[in-house]
């Protein structure tokens, strides 16, 4: 794409991204959201966050070595650390450091 077209494409993407985020606020600006919509708003966060967790893990190599073991170990570490200390920073950084080590050293692949 030429630079001029790139600017137009960026404007289009910025506009559409903002409109998707603004949609509920614009749509329900002058009317009360119906009960079903409020129900969705109340119970969709756990649905979406669960979907996002699966989304984040989908690209692990589940079918061949190391069979997603890096991810399984790191996810297990988040859970255990968080059940133990319930300190978000410890859970997240502990597991991330472990994951970076496992991934960069190829530790699991060499082990199996």
């Amino acid at each position: 794409m030429k630079l001029n077209d790139v600017y137009i494409a960026i404007a289009i993407m910025a506009g559409i991204t903002f409109l998707t985020r603004a949609f509920p606020f614009l749509f329900f600006r002058n009317r009360k959201p119906p009960a079903a919509v409020l129900f969705i708003g109340r119970y969709i966060p756990p649905v979406l966050i669960t979907i996002l967790v699966v989304y984040c893990l989908k690209d692990a190599s589940w079918g061949n070595a190391p069979y997603g073991l890096n991810e399984v170990l790191a996810v297990g570490t988040v859970i255990v650390l968080h059940l133990w200390r319930r300190n978000a920073l410890i859970s997240i950084f502990g597991a991330t450091l472990l994951y970076m080590f496992l991934l960069q050293s190829g530790f699991v692949t060499r082990l199996i």
């Binding site: 910025a14 559409i16 991204t17 998707t20 969705i40 756990p46 059940l83």
Partner: protein
């Protein structure tokens, strides 16, 4: 001293927001750098990375954008794909009517900056005691965007020369979502929404493949969620 305590309170609020967003700092730096590098390798100047991260501010969308530029995609295609990729964002506001109504003139920015990570934080984190809540939300939102902007500029300017190996750093975002999921497991009595999300996500991968799983999972899960409205309300009433 009213003025003093107000100022201290502002600083405290900022500190708490910064702590809350630290995992996003790591994650956004990692994927921001990757985005900047992608754009640079496609032959575009670095200020474009800055511009895109300031005005678009959508991770998956900006990665796709680089492909559009390279492939010389039509504007219609750009518009359609970006809409489908961001479709889930149309739901995010539904959970945040009350919180965003508190934010006054900052509300347009709160809406603009509603990424997956900001949404997940705003819907899961307990508001700290004795602070200005709307300001806390705003700091979370703007800190997250500043990390994203910073990462993408670093990637576009210096990505090729970086000697720190950031491989795997993006796991910070996965870990963040898992922690927020565990916090939500505590705040909801019902387990049904979690099961719906997990099942719809896995089935979506099997049905339409990894690339399109988000859209399929989100749309199907809304339908299933509504089917279970009575069960969920009964669980919560226990």
């Amino acid at each position: 001293m009213v003025g003093d305590s107000g100022k201290n309170n502002k600083l405290l609020t900022f500190k708490l927001a910064f702590q809350t967003t630290l995992p996003v700092l790591c994650g956004y730096l990692a994927i921001g750098i990757a985005f900047g590098l992608l754009l640079k390798n496609a032959g575009y100047p670095w200020p474009l990375a800055l511009l895109m991260s300031v005005v678009i501010y959508a991770g998956a969308g900006q990665y796709l954008a680089v492909n559009f530029f390279i492939a010389n995609a039509s504007f219609i295609e750009v518009a359609t794909v970006i809409f489908l990729v961001n479709f889930r964002h149309m739901l995010y506001g539904l959970s945040l009517f009350d919180k965003f109504n508190l934010t006054g003139r900052l509300k347009p920015y709160m809406i603009f900056s509603l990424t997956d990570e900001t949404y997940a934080l705003l819907t899961s984190v307990k508001d700290p005691e004795g602070i200005d809540r709307p300001r806390f939300y705003f700091f979370i939102a703007i800190l997250n965007q500043s990390y994203w902007v910073l990462g993408s500029v670093i990637g576009a300017v210096a990505g090729g020369f970086l000697t720190i190996n950031t491989k795997g750093l993006d796991f910070a975002l996965t870990a963040l979502f898992i922690v927020l999921l565990m916090e939500q497991l505590r705040s909801y009595k019902t387990r049904i929404p979690f099961l719906i999300g997990g099942l719809c996500a896995v089935l979506a991968i099997l049905a339409v493949g990894k690339a399109n799983m988000l859209l399929a999972a989100v749309i199907s899960s809304i339908g299933v969620l509504l089917l279970f409205e009575r069960r969920i309300m009964a669980d919560e009433a226990e």
